[in-house]
């Protein structure tokens, strides 16, 4: 196995869950997210030689993921939101412990609420949920740290509001109160 292959496999091993979750936030549909994740891995492999270490590896990976997500969304052509019935269906099927079930419901609701956000907001919140620093998010998006801070605060408020509402009311809230 060449050094490049070893490095790539190490990168994938260390970052695959994080990259997948960013894809999940950017693209609400599960199948599309898998497709996007695969595209990201392909791009990381094909562009690995361009990483010179000027930026942090994580910043480089986030940038590739976000650029691929933006292109993917352009090809998809439309903003897709998850439907409220997807959540109740999933909640019913979760039959394990109460805590796990609660976690699952929370996660599905989170997915639904993220899908109600605007494209750029979804990109930003995906990084916030990964606990990426404001500075790094600013670097990835090419914005100033202050600007990113303001945006994140707005998105957090919006997400909190969406999460408080009962399922199904988010669409209305999204259309009227928040735009």
């Amino acid at each position: 196995m060449s050094d490049k292959e070893k490095l790539f496999e190490q990168i994938v091993q260390d970052n695959q869950d994080r990259l997948y979750r960013i894809c999940r936030a950017c693209v609400p549909s599960h199948d599309d997210a898998n497709d996007l994740y695969q595209e990201v891995l392909v791009k990381v492999w094909l562009n690995l030689h361009t990483f010179r270490g000027d930026a942090k590896l994580s910043t480089w990976l986030y940038r590739i993921t976000l650029n691929t997500a933006i292109l993917h969304q352009k090809h998809q052509g439309k903003h897709t939101e998850l439907l409220p019935q997807h959540i109740s269906a999933l909640a019913d099927t979760a039959t394990e412990t109460a805590h796990k079930q609660q976690q699952e419901v929370l996660l599905q609701k989170l997915h639904y609420c993220i899908s109600c956000l605007e494209k750029q907001e979804r990109l930003i919140i995906s990084l916030v949920l990964e606990e990426v620093s404001y500075k790094e998010i600013a670097e990835v998006l090419g914005l100033t740290t202050n600007h990113v801070g303001v945006k994140i605060n707005r998105i957090k408020q919006k997400l909190a509001l969406l999460m408080e509402k009962p399922i199904g009311a988010e669409l209305e809230l999204n259309k009227t109160d928040l735009r």
Partner: protein, 201 residues
């Protein structure tokens, strides 16, 4: 419920099992690129088809003012041949736009091999037939155009036309064959290897 709870819950998600070996990823990249190329070629063929029909029907027909039915028969043959090839290509590749590329699925890989083999064979075997039909069509158009000319003029024009068309045909066939060997064959070979691996698993 605060952001920390969201983060904790969010970070429980794990990446799905997908082929992430560099060789598999390179195959994915090649398959995707070829898919895009085929869809792109289909679109170009459709545009060429429409432009050819428009040129023959709306520009050449009023300008040449055909004397016989052979002009329309010739145009018909050219049009139907190109239309059939275009439909065949679109039909075989239409599902690519909506189907997720999944090289971990044996069914997908088998289907992809079938499609690429079909396209490769179509390009190699039907191109001469397609050219022959187009040549017949254009010869019929020439029959009409030089209907009132002398036998000698008609003979010379047909010989020239066939010589030019055959030369163009042979050259384009040679390049198309070379192009196919560089594009389709390596992808088919890689997919076949992948299929074998999947069958072993």
């Amino acid at each position: 419920m605060n952001l920390e709870d969201f983060q904790k819950s969010w970070q429980t998600q794990q990446a799905p099992e997908q082929p992430n070996k560099p060789t598999a990823l390179e195959t994915i990249a090649k398959v995707k690129a070829l898919q895009q190329k085929v869809v792109h070629t289909n679109a170009i063929m459709t545009v060429v088809l429409c432009a050819t029909v428009a040129a023959f029907v709306f520009i050449l027909r009023p300008f040449l003012n055909p004397n016989t039915i052979w002009y329309d028969v010739g145009v018909g043959i050219v049009f139907v041949t190109v239309l059939l090839v275009t439909i065949m290509q679109w039909f075989k590749t239409a599902s690519w736009k909506n189907r997720q590329l999944d090289l971990s699925s044996r069914e997908y890989v088998t289907r992809a091999i079938n499609k690429y083999t079909f396209l490769n064979t179509t390009n190699l075997k039907t191109t001469p037939v397609l050219m022959a039909f187009i040549l017949i069509g254009i010869n019929l158009i020439y029959v009409d155009i030089f209907w009132n000319g002398s036998f000698k003029l008609r003979l010379v024009m047909h010989i020239l036309l066939n010589a030019v068309m055959i030369t163009i045909g042979v050259v384009s066939f040679y390049y198309s064959k070379r192009h196919n060997e560089n594009t389709y064959k390596p992808v088919i070979r890689e997919l076949e290897e992948l299929q074998q691996e999947l069958e072993e698993v």
